[in-house]
């Protein structure tokens, strides 16, 4: 049977992709950020997951407002990275695992989660940057697992509640664990933490709230479901709603987890960046 090894969160800021391309790992601005990743690289080397489920939010590449799924699951043989409008070089396609995708979709819809399935899905920085951070050289890293993208809507309100995000993760766990093949799976929750790009409040960051979220997500995620969506915008910033991805990931990890490493740094671009590795017990 498939087994979930653990979950990893990271911010997915576009500027990180550029910094990787320019090899700025030891630059004074970037070093405190990139220092959060070697322990994760070691864990990945030791555990060698076969599949990565990458929970992210599309930012206007794979989906537009004409048809905006609340929860979408990739079911493709491969996922193309495409130009998001800035003319940056695209990475080569990421191989998928459509059999596992369809198994998860069947299981989750039976569990009353209404999923949008995607046999083609262009993936943006939200998906690609975390892959580059965890598997340097992605998708050409020799340990690169097959990938399944899951995108949740944080572009257009109404967005899902924090409780729904956590419950989504719990249903996802059932879908993964009931897959008959012996696969090792890692779940990513990408995006966040606090940031706001628009309006007179652009540049808003909230260290206290971020730390409250990081403190509670491992052992007390139910507490975080009390936060309303409007409070999340108020306290995490308009784009800090990406914390929903962390909640979705957390739900997939089961009751008990061990924290292996964490990193938190202000600022990267306009964002408070956060990284966390939780291993399933």
């Amino acid at each position: 049977m498939a087994k979930i090894l653990g979950g990893i969160t990271t911010s997915h800021i576009p500027a990180v992709g550029k910094a990787i391309q320019d090899e700025l790992h030891d630059d004074p601005y970037w070093k405190p950020f990139f220092d959060g990743y070697p322990k994760i690289h070691n864990w990945i080397k030791e555990n060698k997951p076969d599949v990565v489920i990458n929970i992210y939010n599309d930012h206007g590449l794979g989906f537009f407002l004409d048809q905006m799924p609340t929860f979408a699951i990739g079911a493709a043989h491969e996922y193309r990275n495409e130009d998001e409008g800035w003319g940056l070089p695209s990475l080569d396609p990421f191989p998928g695992h459509p059999e596992l995708s369809w198994h998860i979709i069947e299981s989750m819809v039976a569990d009353e989660f209404d999923i949008t399935s995607c046999q083609e899905l262009a993936v943006d920085h939200g998906f690609v940057v975390p892959m580059q951070l965890f598997w340097p050289g992605a998708p050409h890293n020799p340990d690169m697992p097959r990938a399944i993208p899951i995108s949740a809507n944080t572009v257009q309100h109404p967005i899902p509640t924090l409780k729904r995000a956590l419950d989504f993760g719990k249903a996802l766990r059932k879908g993964i664990e009931s897959f008959p093949e012996d696969l090792k799976v890692v779940v990513l929750g990408t995006g966040g933490l606090s940031h706001q790009l628009e309006g007179e409040r652009a540049g808003f960051i909230n260290k206290e709230f971020d730390q409250y979220c990081i403190e509670n997500i491992a052992h007390n995620p139910e507490e975080l479901t009390k936060i309303t969506r409007q409070e999340l915008v108020e306290k995490a910033g308009a784009q800090g709603t990406e914390f929903l991805m962390w909640m979705m990931m957390r739900g997939a990890l089961g009751d008990n987890v061990t924290e292996i490493t964490r990193n938190y740094h202000i600022p990267i671009s306009n964002t408070a960046s956060g990284t966390l590795l939780l291993e399933c017990e």
Binding site: G60, L65, G85, H157, L197, E198, G199, A202
Partner: protein
């Protein structure tokens, strides 16, 4: 159009929640910006901004906001920041430039404001 049954928003100064009301208002502007994912559309816009905006059916308020490169006015006109970021890219504006413009700071002041929150 108001949506009285769903008026659950709280007032967050300096923040426009991109909800159904904004989505209705901004569809043409956002659709144009989404088109900028493709290089051919970016080039077409650069070659003739007015014709491109007309093609996507922007209203006069939206057109003027684009002419003025005024991000706050674009948001007021229903623009969503994720799509507007693609337009900002055409003007070679970074997210810190856009942040500075909206908050009345220079880019350097805005970057310092970010650092000060560490």
């Amino acid at each position: 159009m108001d949506q009285p049954g769903f008026d659950y928003h709280i007032d967050i100064p300096g923040t426009t929640l991109f909800d159904g009301k904004q989505a209705m208002k901004g569809y043409a502007l956002n659709k144009m910006c989404y088109a900028f994912n493709k290089e051919e559309n970016r080039n077409a816009f650069k070659a003739d901004e007015e014709a491109f905006m007309e093609q996507y059916g922007l209203n006069n308020t939206q057109k003027q906001a684009v002419r003025d490169r005024n991000v706050l006015a674009m948001i007021e006109a229903g623009g969503n920041i994720y799509y507007l970021a693609k337009l900002a890219g055409i003007f070679k504006l970074s997210v810190q430039d856009v942040g500075g413009q909206q908050t009345g700071m220079t880019t350097e002041e805005f970057q310092q404001h970010l650092l000060d929150q560490a």
